[in-house]
């Protein structure tokens, strides 16, 4: 998990990405002018709670937003080329080939009526031009790479014959079929048992190193982020709230929401605390464009300005920024 060279243009460079759902009350903003970047071989975490827009952002990067959604971006860069201008045919060549995706629920994300092997070979057929026995042999190799027992047998198994962890491994093998440069993993461990979660994260880390692949990890689990990611983005209410190096953000979060989020995790690991200090209130639902900070109703540092003006992302130190009127730039670690 080597960090990207700052000089090099990032592999994925998203600027001003929005996803809106038109409605009679005006556009409902699921993602509101979000920017993020992922360097080659880098692991970046995109953190937020349910409804924060993190999964929708991932789908929008793949240009896979649901029907009815309107997506726009100033720049959707992949290796310097803008994907937002590409036709459907061209973006299909990128999907699965250069950017692959692993989804949250490995049961429903696999097709129940096709064998695991078939679901891998169809990617090999589409992107690698492999067919028949050669494709099948490659599928078995891919399954071996994700550490499943007896890949030669598993290739002919149906998803329902596998455990959740095995299904997610198969799902990862499928995503890696065409050797993508970027893997978007959308809550890859959320649907799995805790013991399996660690194994899957370890597998993803190993594969990422071996294949020199960049990973955009979408999660609500800050514990996972600390272990694997180089940089972290925090989303709330469809907006980008804070980003920076994982070490910096975790040591000294700037945005009050990030502070609250980290507090809840620290309490879990700190046995001296008796009770959980939750963030009061509810995250915002899908609504029209908000005036002011989306977190203002729940924020303990709130001032009048927060309700009147949307805070822009401001630099909080080297390589880090937060969208908050109250936060002060952070001191460099000693």
């Amino acid at each position: 998990m080597t960090p990207s060279h700052p000089a090099e243009a990032p592999l994925l460079d998203v600027r001003g990405l929005s996803v809106a759902f038109p409605s009679p009350r005006g556009d409902l903003m699921a993602v509101d002018r979000v920017s993020l970047s992922v360097g080659r071989g880098e692991t970046v975490a995109l953190v937020g709670e349910s409804g924060s827009g993190k999964s929708m952002s991932a789908l929008a990067i793949m240009r896979l937003t649901p029907p009815g959604a309107r997506m726009s971006a100033d720049w959707l860069g992949l290796d310097g080329a803008d994907m937002s201008k590409l036709g459907e045919r061209e973006i299909r060549d990128i999907r699965g080939r250069r950017i692959a995706m692993v989804f949250q629920n490995p049961m429903s994300s696999l097709n129940a009526v096709l064998t695991i092997g078939r679901q891998i070979t169809e990617s090999l057929e589409r992107h690698m031009g492999l067919h028949g026995r050669i494709a099948r042999a490659r599928a078995i190799e891919l399954l071996a790479m994700v550490d499943v027992p007896a890949p030669g047998k598993l290739v002919d198994a149906y998803p329902h014959q596998l455990s959740g962890g095995m299904r997610q491994r198969a799902m990862i093998a499928m995503a890696l079929a065409a050797g993508p440069e970027l893997l978007i993993a959308d809550e890859p461990t959320t649907a799995l048992d805790v013991t399996i979660q660690a194994q899957i994260m370890e597998l993803l880390g190993r594969l990422q190193r071996e294949m020199r692949m960049a990973v955009l990890l979408i999660t609500h689990d800050l514990g996972v982020v600390a272990g694997v990611a180089n940089r972290v983005y925090v989303m709330y209410g469809g907006r980008m709230f804070e980003y920076g190096q994982v070490d910096d953000v975790f040591r000294d979060p700037a945005q009050p929401y990030t502070i609250g989020l980290l507090d809840t995790v620290r309490q879990l690991s700190d046995e001296s605390t008796e009770s959980l200090i939750p963030i009061p209130g509810q995250p915002p639902g899908l609504g029209p464009v908000l005036v002011g900070c989306a977190f203002a109703p729940r924020c303990r540092f709130v001032v009048d300005l927060c309700r009147e003006e949307t805070p822009p992302l401001r630099a909080m130190g080297r390589d880090r920024a937060a969208a908050c009127h109250v936060a002060e730039p952070r001191a460099e670690p000693a």
Binding site: M62, L64, R92, D93, I94, R95, G96, R97, A100, M101, F103, N105, M107, S108, S109, L110, N111, A112, V113, L114, T115, E122, S123, R126, H127, Y158, P159, H160, Q161, M171, M174
Partner: protein
């Protein structure tokens, strides 16, 4: 798989036995004397009595049933009261025509219904969907005999393109036979096509919204592949069940359609035989219909297993 089929076939036997008893009792309970009907109103009571003895109607009911059953298991179904022809010949002749009709109607219903359902789902909410859904609603509310009569009026009476009744001569060219088949098959098939359209549309909409379709799209697969491999096949599982269940109704519909088109099938044969109290024909015809229905349900179950591996391997997904 082989054992499963064998078990299912063995399960048919008790079902068939019960069906035969019910059919036997219902026919015998219906009023009217086959001997009287056969000889006509002019016959004397003595002549009728002699005819009754000749037909074996003097024996008590249970005895007659046992005699019939013991003959039936040796595939001797007796002779028609009316024509005195062997029942097996008469029934199987008619059955052949009905099979042809049902197959043609089934083919029309499945191809039309499934493809229209897929199209409606893909163009959900747009004009093509609205046209298809409206047409299927209209066809669904039209009984097949109405469609049959309309077809006769248009294509037989006005345009004179197709024959209005019968099934043509035996030994005719295949194409000639098809001309007799088209209208009854369309009339019988269209309402089922409408049923299947609605089911396929709903099943496709559900399938298209499933997570694995998003996975397939995220792999960069072409829309044709996504729809064909990842939605249609999954949507076929529930639709096939409905198609199989509908086939029973198709057989019932065939009775009416065969009457409308004077088509010499099993349905028309049974209806005629009931009017004539021709017990052996009715009996054999209904039992054959029961066998066909049971066979269809087995076929549907097998299809189900082919389409959905979770059923084939007998383990449920979690």
């Amino acid at each position: 798989m082989g054992r499963y089929v064998l078990t299912r076939l063995l399960q048919f036997l008790p079902t068939l036995f019960i069906a035969s008893v019910v059919v036997f009792l219902v026919i015998q309970a219906s009023p009217g004397d086959p001997a009287r009907i056969k000889l006509g109103p002019e016959a004397t009571p003595e002549q009728v009595a002699i005819e009754r003895t000749r037909l074996g109607l003097d024996e008590p009911l249970p005895v007659r049933y046992v005699i019939w059953l013991s003959d039936a298991v040796r595939l001797d179904l007796g002779r028609s009261f009316q024509s005195n022809l062997p029942v097996t010949d008469v029934v199987f002749d008619a059955f052949g025509y009905t099979v042809r009709l049902a197959l043609a109607a089934g083919a029309i219903a499945t191809t039309l219904g499934i493809s229209a359902g897929i199209l409606a789902a893909l163009f959900r909410g747009r004009s093509l969907d609205i046209v298809i859904s409206t047409m299927s609603a209209v066809l669904l509310s039209l009984p097949s005999f109405v469609i049959g009569i309309v077809l006769i009026l248009v294509f037989a009476v006005n345009l004179r393109w197709l024959p209005s009744s019968g099934a043509g001569r035996t030994g005719q060219a295949l194409l000639d036979g098809l001309r007799y088949l088209i209208m009854p098959a369309v009339a019988l098939g269209l309402p089922f096509a409408a049923v299947l359209t609605r089911f396929m549309r709903a099943a496709m909409i559900e399938a298209l919204g499933q997570d694995h379709v998003l996975t397939a799209r995220a792999k960069g697969l072409k829309p044709v592949t996504v729809v064909g491999r990842h939605a249609v096949r999954n949507a076929l599982v529930p639709t096939i069940t409905i198609a199989g269940i509908s086939l029973g109704t198709l057989l019932a519909g065939a009775v009416v359609i065969e009457t409308v088109f004077s088509y010499p099938g099993l349905g028309r044969l049974i209806v005629g035989a009931i009017f004539n109290r021709d017990y052996p024909i009715v009996q054999a015809g209904l039992i054959l219909a029961a066998v066909v229905l049971l066979g269809m349900s087995l076929l549907v179950d097998l299809m189900y297993g082919i389409l959905d591996p979770r059923i084939r391997t007998g383990r449920s997904g979690s």
